[in-house]
């Protein structure tokens, strides 16, 4: 166990981070129904231990490449709830001025390179970010998140091969929630042991219980240390489950309610909370304070987004090419 994981403050912080993501997204679902948020909205509820755990192993100078289900990663990486919410409201105060929306969160300050909504499309980018770091001799890691659905894409295989061949410092984080939209893993892959696929490219690989934040922290730190030591890429599979529908349009015809209920018993927040309670590290007052803090942060983010402004339509054709002189 890494030493940090023995510190109650740190353990409480992990809980706080997961709760923050959960409440933020629950609010997003409400705001979607209230038509404040439009387009596609993909919720990460149930998978929070993955983003929170893996971000623990990253440094500020590292890079993150995520998918369209990335609110949790964005928050865990340090993008403010305000900037994120304003983006989903389509306001110019959003992290991408409202040009990206829920699926395309980018943030230069935290080196957050999307918000990539073509499944598998982020992996080549991660290889390139890492290639530049390696060629320039920078001691940085690029963490690349993708779902198990991406493993069916050619980009997964091309990227694994190239990263291994060139020994690129990429931490590949596969969040296996068992369903690529509505397609179960067993219905799309001849080999469902994903770590084996990465291993075939000579990439060290490890599968971890993605519902256990402490396990993810430990695995991520081990993996990031290996990558940072110049050992080339690493493949980490977080076995997890999404409690909500794929998107707000999904009637969930492809999985049994009973299955969802079974997985909810392993809710990463509830189980971690129980662990901390059993260790006497939280009590009702602590939880109340945590809830209040989180609620205040989210209310503030919503107020910020509501008060935000719409970018003038006259600016429509900006950001097609760089604006020279402003660089």
């Amino acid at each position: 166990m890494t030493r940090r994981l023995e510190e109650p403050d740190y353990r409480r912080r992990l809980l706080h981070e997961m709760v923050r993501i959960r409440r933020f997204e629950e609010k997003c679902a409400e705001l979607y129904s209230a038509t404040k948020i439009r387009g596609f909205l993909h919720l990460y509820i149930g998978e929070e231990a993955g983003a929170v755990g893996i971000m623990q192993a990253l440094q500020p100078e590292d890079a993150v490449v995520a998918t369209y289900r990335e609110h949790g990663h964005a928050l865990a990486r340090g993008i403010s709830a305000r900037a994120l919410m304003a983006e989903m409201f389509g306001k110019v105060e959003g992290c991408c001025r409202g040009r990206g929306g829920s699926m395309h969160i980018f943030d230069a300050a935290t080196r957050f390179y999307g918000g990539n909504a073509i499944v598998g499309g982020g992996l080549p980018l991660a290889a390139g970010l890492a290639l530049a770091d390696k060629m320039e001799g920078r001691d940085r890691v690029t963490a690349c998140f993708f779902g198990e659905g991406a493993i069916a894409e050619g980009e997964f295989h091309e990227s694994m091969n190239l990263a291994a061949l060139w020994q690129l410092p990429v931490l590949f984080c596969c969040e296996n929630n068992l369903y690529a939209m509505g397609t179960a893993l067993r219905r799309s892959e001849s080999e469902t042991n994903l770590a084996v696929k990465a291993a075939a490219y000579d990439v060290p690989s490890w599968a971890v219980d993605g519902m256990d934040v402490a396990a993810v922290v430990e695995a991520a730190e081990r993996a990031a240390t290996a990558v940072r030591a110049g050992g080339g890429p690493y493949f980490l599979e977080c076995r997890t489950y999404r409690f909500r529908a794929h998107s707000m349009y999904d009637p969930e015809l492809y999985r049994a309610k009973q299955e969802v209920e079974e997985w909810k018993k392993r809710d990463p927040i509830a189980t971690w909370m129980a662990t901390l309670e059993a260790a006497g590290e939280i009590d009702a007052a602590t939880l109340q304070r945590m809830d209040a803090d989180v609620a205040a942060e989210i209310d503030d983010a919503i107020a910020f987004a509501e008060a935000g402004t719409l970018e003038p339509v006259a600016d429509l054709e900006r950001f097609v090419f760089s604006e020279r002189g402003s660089e």
């Binding site: 890079a63 959003g94 992290c95 991408c96 001025r97 409202g98 040009r99 990206g100 395309h104 980018f106 943030d107 230069a108 390179y113 999307g114 918000g115 990539n116 073509i118 499309g121 992996l123 080549p124 980018l125 991660a126 290889a127 390139g128 970010l129 890492a130 290639l131 530049a132 770091d133 060629m135 320039e136 690029t142 050619g154 980009e155 091309e158 990227s159 091969n161 190239l162 061949l165 900006r318 950001f319 097609v320 090419f321 760089s322 604006e323 020279r324 660089e327």
Partner: protein, 330 residues
């Protein structure tokens, strides 16, 4: 030309790559067979010995990842030149080019630009049949967020690369493979060229011949033959298909009042169609005749020589179109 040297487009391009590598340590070349093989078209021959395998980087046959890696490396401080062997193969990387390279600046609200150069061979005429011969540059020119360059002269083979590398956004350079062996004279001090303007290669008064890339030598030859028939054509090298230099096109039409567009792409939905539309939008009342065009026949390019020749724009078909437009064919 004083101080000029005889060279080829291939040599000029290699000199451009070498100069870029020398000038900027962030520049590197990657692609299939660019290193040990020396480049499929021998463009990068010798550069591996000069710059080493870190900067002349052979890749696996994985277009999507090496183009995507170019995008990532460009966003992370480097200035990659990615070579894709042919435009047909670039379709394997189209997702990266369209959904990432062309899009990230906009999606990110201006936060992340992609200073990437992608070079690829294009065009037919070598009996390479339907998977190695197409001209899709006009099709790429449909995409906002990228620039599309089509060098058709030795000066542009020499000079466009550095300008492209200095651009903050993705630039695609389409090199018609028939031009690599094209010989010509190049000033000893030839260097970077502007990429924002079309160029009048030959001034004339009878009609405007708009052309680009591999069609430039054909169009210039057609102009010479037209001249012997008493016609004085203007030849405009479009050079950059996106953003298109509409002003130069319209200016030429206002002087000649007649136009033919030579485009190695297929006719339907082509860059020639776009140019015709712009001429109509901006100078309809200047025209003395309908605008004509010479395109590639709408078939996948065949292998047999007589068939391929019949499919592509040729000097004779350009002359024929020009004669029709000036009313010289009866």
């Amino acid at each position: 030309m004083s101080g000029a040297v005889k060279t080829t487009c291939r040599e000029a391009l290699r000199a451009a790559i070498r100069e870029a590598m020398q000038r900027d340590s962030r520049v590197f070349l990657m692609g299939e067979d660019v290193g040990e093989y020396g480049g499929c078209f021998a463009v990068s021959k010798g550069l591996l010995d000069e710059f080493g395998p870190e900067r002349i980087r052979d890749t696996p046959l994985s277009e999507s990842v090496f183009v995507g890696a170019g995008i990532g490396a460009a966003m992370n401080g480097l200035r990659p030149i990615v070579e894709v062997m042919t435009v047909n193969f670039s379709l394997l990387a189209l997702d990266q080019i369209l959904n990432n390279a062309a899009t990230i600046l906009h999606m990110s609200g201006g936060q992340f630009n992609v200073p990437l150069v992608i070079r690829m061979a294009t065009g037919g005429g070598r009996q390479l049949a339907a998977q190695h011969s197409h001209s899709l540059e006009g099709w790429y020119a449909h995409i906002p967020g990228i620039k599309v360059l089509t060098p058709g002269t030795i000066e542009d083979f020499r000079g466009m690369l550095w300008t492209a590398l200095e651009d903050p956004d993705p630039v695609l350079i389409f090199e018609n493979a028939l031009l690599y062996n094209l010989e010509g004279e190049l000033a000893e001090d030839a260097g970077p060229v502007d990429i924002s303007k079309a160029r009048v290669l030959r001034s004339g008064t009878s009609l405007s011949l708009f052309s680009y890339g591999g069609s430039i030598p054909k169009t210039l030859e057609a102009a010479v033959q037209l001249e012997s028939r008493g016609i004085d054509p203007e030849v405009v090298d479009l050079r950059t298909l996106r953003p298109l230099d509409t002003a130069t096109i319209i200016d030429s039409v206002r002087r000649t009042h007649r136009a033919v567009i030579v485009d190695e792409g297929w006719r339907s939905g082509s860059i020639s169609a776009e140019i015709m539309a712009r001429i109509m939008e901006e100078s309809f009342y200047e025209l003395d005749a309908p605008v004509a065009r010479v395109c590639t026949a709408e078939v996948p390019l065949p292998y047999a020589k007589q068939m391929e020749d019949a499919a592509l724009p040729r000097v004779e078909t350009i002359i024929e179109a020009a004669m029709n437009v000036v009313g010289g064919n009866g």
